[in-house]
Amino acid sequence: MVSEATDVQAPSFKREMLATLPSLRAFAVSLTGKHDKADDLVQDTVMKAWAKQTSFEMGTNIKAWLFTILRNEFYSQMRKRGREVQDSDGAFTERLSVHPPQYGAMDMIDFKAALSKLPDDQREAVILIGASGFSYEDAAAICNCAVGTMKSRVSRARIRLQDLLKVSGEADYGPDAVSTQVTTQTLSIGQGR
């Protein structure tokens, strides 16, 4: 029997999903480090989510639900394929097609380099809380960990980032800004192999 409620919910489920895709995709880029792999991952996630949409209750947080599916999918693919999926060292290592206007190119290169030095769990935590806009409770549910664990990951990530950025901000390892920029780019390309 086809329930009436499903018929009413279906278009709305699609709409909700559409609204979440840009953020879901940004999270996928932060996990895979590469746009093509991120798009494949989002595609797999959309198909999984669509197949199990009856297990989603409208009115609950579809964004957290989709992020959970995407993250589970990412780690299960990583386990299956080994390092190949994760070669990139994660975290926006590719050149951005839309540059944030409020920051200089150097700022963002430094920041991406610092972000890529974080352990995976800390980088994921700081992105979910700081950029995706999740509460600690939602982020903990997405990562299947305790709220306290999430808080401590974020706090350690923040301290580490502040540390790294202060060091690179002093520019005491390169003769000038241009060569520093080249070095950092080479590094992130190297990591991308």
């Binding site: 279906a10 953020s23 989603f56 947080n61 700081v126 974020v154």
Partner: protein, 74 residues
């Protein structure tokens, strides 16, 4: 696995700051750089292939439903 936790649905805001005491709030350097980076990917828009996929899933489901409905209908 996936938790169907009832959470209030106000994640609409594209970019929302975390709690102010975690050093990632709107006026922090790290928080705003994180959001700038993330936002730059969000602003790229959604690739057509993904939009096409959603449309296909949706119309496949609609077709299946009308089939089932025709079979069930007396």
């Amino acid at each position: 696995m996936v938790k169907d936790k009832p959470v209030s649905q106000q994640q609409r805001a594209r970019v929302q700051a975390g709690p102010s005491d975690d050093g990632l709030g709107p006026n922090t350097d790290i928080g705003s750089r994180l959001r700038a980076l993330y936002g730059s990917v969000q602003d790229e828009g959604v690739p057509d292939q993904l939009l096409d996929l959603l449309e296909k899933l949706d119309s496949a489901e609609a077709a299946q439903k009308s089939n089932t409905g025709a079979q069930n209908g007396q």
